[in-house]
């Protein structure tokens, strides 16, 4: 990069709920995080402009740092040479558009309609409506419904290649007549993806070309017994990040602000979608260390999962955005998707269901609130486990080796649609799991984040756990494009909090029986032996940066990474939590069925992890 060295950096991430700002400076030869500020994201009245939230978050840094970072008018960021004010560069990411809500259309509701729905769900969208030629609604009713729902995007499919054209064109006519107005109003054409009968492409283009941002992709159902969801799904993903997210009010202004001076010339730095930025960072880690990595970023409207696993000897990066899972805007959808029972099973005390439901709904309608009581915190962390679990399920289904390869279906499958295909995600192979997002980064105790990640992702064998210290991976991701060394340094020193290795034998046993013994050679040279007992958890102290050689001997049929019953020699790493021995079993992992026993076990595990202050044991009594 030409010009003066950049030593003062301001980076923001406009999330759907909260806008986070960080100040990074180069001091004594190294880039370090100096301050952090946050403010509610402002896409709703009274301040329908994302930059307001940015100004507020930066304003908080000003308050804490006692210096000015906003320009003289206080309507923008001061970027320039003045050492007494402002910074050398301002960069930003954004996911402020929130989740992705789609309407899909297909000729036959149970055939192409369903394929379209699957493609949209697979891309992490919320499907608000399935419009089909045979859905029983009249033309004008379909039109009215599309208008009322204001989808962010429409996926139009229908007809196998060489099949019906009339019906597909009729659906295009419905969309044309609806002329839906996007949520953020003026100046933007609604993205419509056409993934239907290729013979109808010309007529669909004629109908929709002018009034929408039409993108044509290969048919999702080229023949009856074969589904080809990849291209449509990828395009939904791409358009969401490039098109929909960028429509948040005030985004245009933010684009102008992001940049720096290079030799007297202003150079803009493009705003990166948050999932893109975090993904970049995860990929960077996997590449630098040559390991299998997963990352998860749980936000208010969306939960993003990233993975790097090998496929035919090559590392393959996969990213999924579950735009229907999150801790504020999408929190009720977590409840609806997972079911009340699945959420309740993680709550280590008795609770009235009606009360829990009201709490979740109130969080949805007032997304920026935070838990004040221990009980509220535990409930929120219970919900997060289900959001993370469901996001992983979605990621597993989509993280397949080669993108866009058609999934073969037999004629029988055509009537009973199920997902198939081998996933690349292998929890036994996973080396590092990184968590980010408010509920994980801001968990008052780091061991709470560790427990949430272990409970939801169920890592197997030896897996290092880490968490984004203060939810700054998005900002570092966008920074890594401009100043890779600064991003890497801050990521390593200030962002990545190493929690410690989790050792989890996979397989079934009986409560109280030893599933594996672990011999550990501590850094001081002493050797100790630990028993991993089925149904129990234990934490062994091992500090940040400390490593220990281990020899793990699993019981018959139990796998710790070398195969069932086979001994594994490896290394575990310490962290702020320590080494977690998780003897609760895998494949499958289950909670006790009875309420009393379930609560007793949850309390026991939480105590073993010192997850909560002891008074939590008296909650719900």
């Amino acid at each position: 990069m030409a010009g003066k060295e950049i030593t003062r950096i301001l980076a923001t991430d406009c999330g759907s709920t909260t806008t986070k700002a960080i100040l990074i400076e180069k001091r004594a030869g190294e880039y370090r995080l100096i301050r952090r500020g946050e403010a509610p994201t402002t896409v709703e009245a009274p301040a329908e402009d994302v930059t307001k939230g940015v100004l507020n978050a930066v304003g908080e840094i000003e308050d804490l740092e006692g210096r000015e970072f906003l320009d003289a008018s206080r309507e923008g960021i001061a970027v320039g040479d003045d050492l007494s004010r402002g910074v050398d560069i301002f960069v930003s990411t954004s996911s402020a558009g929130g989740g992705l809500q789609m309407t899909v259309a297909g000729v036959v509701k149970s055939m192409t309609g369903e394929s379209a729905q699957r493609a949209a769900l697979g891309a992490g969208a919320i499907v608000m409506d399935v419009v089909a030629s045979n859905d029983g609604r009249l033309f004008h009713e379909k039109v009215a419904d599309i208008r009322r729902l204001r989808p962010d995007m429409i996926l139009l499919s229908g007809g196998i290649d060489g099949g019906t054209i009339d019906h597909v064109v009729e659906l295009a006519e419905v969309i044309r007549a609806a002329d839906p107005k996007p949520r953020f109003g003026v100046g933007y054409k609604l993205p419509v993806i056409y993934a239907g009968n290729r013979d109808a492409t010309g007529e669909v283009e004629h109908e929709l070309g002018g009034m929408s941002a039409l993108k044509v992709v290969p048919n999702i159902r080229p023949v009856l017994e074969r589904e080809n969801l990849g291209p449509a799904r990828d395009t939904i993903h791409e358009l969401f990040m490039e098109h929909v997210m960028a429509q948040a009010p005030g985004y245009g202004k933010l684009m102008q602000w992001a940049g720096h001076w290079v030799d007297g010339r202003w150079e803009n730095v493009p705003i990166m979608p948050t999932p893109g930025a975090v993904g970049k960072l995860i990929e960077m880690v996997a590449r630098a260390e040559g390991i299998h990595v997963m990352g998860v970023d749980i936000g208010g409207a969306t939960t993003d999962v990233f993975s790097v696993f090998d496929s035919q000897g090559q590392p393959v990066f996969n990213r999924t955005v579950s735009a229907n899972l999150g801790m504020s805007y999408s929190i009720s959808n977590v409840l609806a998707s997972a079911g009340m029972e699945n959420v309740m099973r993680w709550v280590p005390f008795r609770m009235d269901e009606a009360d829990l439901r009201n709490r979740i709904r109130n969080k949805m309608i007032r997304p920026t609130t935070i838990p004040q009581t221990l009980e509220e915190l535990i409930v929120e962390q219970a919900i997060s486990r289900e959001a993370l679990r469901l996001a992983l399920v979605q990621h597993r289904e989509l993280a397949v080796g080669l993108k866009g390869v058609a999934q073969e279906r037999t004629i029988g499958d055509a009537f009973e649609q199920t997902q198939t295909g081998a996933t690349l995600v292998d929890m036994m192979k996973l080396d590092l799991l990184i968590g980010s997002g408010g509920v994980l980064s801001h968990a008052p105790r780091r061991c709470q984040a560790a427990l949430m990640m272990i409970d939801s992702f169920l890592p197997e064998g030896i897996t290092m756990l880490a968490v984004d210290s203060i939810f700054m991976m998005p900002q570092l991701g966008v920074l890594s494009k401009e100043l890779p060394e600064a991003a890497a340094e801050v990521f390593d020193k200030d962002c990545l909090i190493r929690l410690g290795s989790c050792v989890a034998p996979s397989g079934q046993s009986k409560d109280g029986q030893t599933t594996a013994t672990m011999q550990m050679e501590a850094p001081d040279g002493r050797t100790r032996e630990f028993r991993i007992v089925y149904g129990r958890m234990e934490v062994i102290p091992l500090g940040v940066g400390e490593k220990a050689r281990v020899t793990i001997r699993p019981a018959k049929g139990i796998d710790v990474g070398a195969g069932p019953g086979r001994q594994l020699e490896s290394v575990v790493e310490g962290g702020v939590v320590g080494v977690v021995l998780d003897g609760r079993g895998r494949q499958p992992f289950g909670l006790p069925a009875g309420d009393a026993e379930r609560i007793r076990k949850l309390q026991e595990w939480a105590m073993a992890m010192t997850a909560y202050p002891e008074k939590f044991l008296s909650l719900g009594r």
């Binding site: 403010a39 608000m128 609806a336 009606a354 609130t369 935070i370 009581t373």
Partner: protein, 373 residues
């Protein structure tokens, strides 16, 4: 966080409300710019082609399709009434004639000589759109609809279900903390929009539906009751299309929550006036909130808005919006700048609030919203 915003809910004594009224497809606008309209005034209409009914005349008469045209008593475009004869065979020496009668009222659209099929069409389906609120047409959208403007009392709720309805306002509770119970609903509530206090149950809501109540504006409602009433669990908050015989607007949230005094007093001051309400809610960026619009005409003078949005200062009236003080109203009594530790062990910016009964509590700044005086 140092900043607290309300979700932007408006409670306006008198304000200008504009409503766009568009047909779902092109048609005819029936009113002119400048026209005064009532809420029920149809401002635009269009017609959809009626449904089609296929009738295989050749099969019914047992005659080759080619021969049918001579037997048809109707030609393309002719109107039809139900049971009217469309075609008749010649029979044997004029006897044993077979007859084809129209199963529908509508018109004879076409006959296909190859298949022997006749296409009959039902009468066009009229689609109309009304003004929704009493006011004046300030803009005509050619072939599509109009924009209606009105001077009105305007109250936004936080969540609602059901679409647009109208009715005269009737306050059935004495205070904003009183539950709207089923004994308060009688025959006089038919066709009305009821203003309640803190809460309503699903049983009362059902009674209201059977009593012909058009809409209800209350403080809170249980989510379990919502699931019971709708018959499904709401995933994302996108509502307005529920067809449950009533429109419900919640002003405060889920659970038992006193309606804010200012909202309650304002609605009560409009007792007996015609209100248009809509439960449609979309909670996502680009939010839509449910609303109560009460056109007031020119005679009512409005108070200027008293609140500066977003400014949280000592003395600001606030509502706590999260447990353990959920729903309680009070005033900010202190704004300590330093972070404080909560019971959760998190360190956050807080404020101290003094409740109506004089008691005080410390709550995170993120957990309050400013309310109208």
């Amino acid at each position: 966080m140092a900043f607290a915003y309300t979700p932007g809910l408006r409670v306006a004594d008198v304000t200008t409300v504009r409503k766009e009224r568009r047909l779902p497809l092109k048609g005819r606008v029936l009113v002119r710019e400048g026209a005064d309209v009532d809420a029920e005034t149809v401002v635009a209409r269009t017609e959809l082609p009626g449904n089609v009914k296929m009738l295989n005349i050749a099969n019914i008469l047992g005659v080759p399709p080619d021969d049918i045209p001579e037997l048809l008593l109707k030609k393309e475009g002719d109107p039809l009434s139900e049971n009217e004869t469309i075609a008749q065979s010649r029979g044997l020496f004029g006897l044993f004639r077979n007859t084809v009668r129209s199963p529908i009222e509508g018109s004879f659209e076409s006959f296909n000589k190859v298949t022997g099929q006749a296409v009959l069409r039902e009468p066009p389906i009229p689609v109309t759109i009304d003004a929704y609120v009493k006011g004046r047409v300030v803009e005509v959208i050619p072939d599509e609809g109009v924009v209606v403007e009105t001077r009105a009392t305007f109250v936004q709720g936080i969540f609602g279900i059901g679409g647009e309805v109208r009715g005269f306002l009737k306050t059935v509770v004495k205070s904003p903390d009183q539950e709207l119970t089923s004994d308060l609903i009688d025959a006089s509530c038919s066709g009305r929009i009821l203003v309640g206090g803190s809460f309503v149950t699903v049983a009362t809501l059902r009674k209201a539906v059977s009593a012909g109540v058009k809409g209800m504006v209350v403080g809170g409602f249980d989510d379990r009751d919502l699931k019971d009433f709708l018959g499904y669990d709401l995933g994302v908050a996108i509502t307005g299309h529920e067809n449950k015989g009533i429109t419900l607007v919640l002003t405060e949230g889920f659970g038992r929550m006193n309606m804010a005094r200012a909202t309650f007093d304002l609605l009560r001051s409009r007792e007996g006036m015609l209100a248009s309400i809509n439960g449609a809610t979309q909670i996502r960026a680009g939010v839509i909130r449910p609303e109560v619009v009460i056109p007031v005409g020119d005679e009512v003078q409005g108070k200027p808005p008293s609140r500066e949005q977003g400014a949280l200062v000592t003395g600001s009236p606030v509502r706590v919006i999260r447990a353990p003080y959920f729903g309680r109203l009070g005033r900010v009594s202190a704004l300590p700048p330093e972070l404080q530790q909560l019971e959760t062990e998190a360190h956050v910016r807080v404020l101290e609030v003094e409740f109506g009964d004089g008691s005080r509590a410390v709550v995170p700044r993120a957990n309050v919203e400013l309310i109208e005086e």
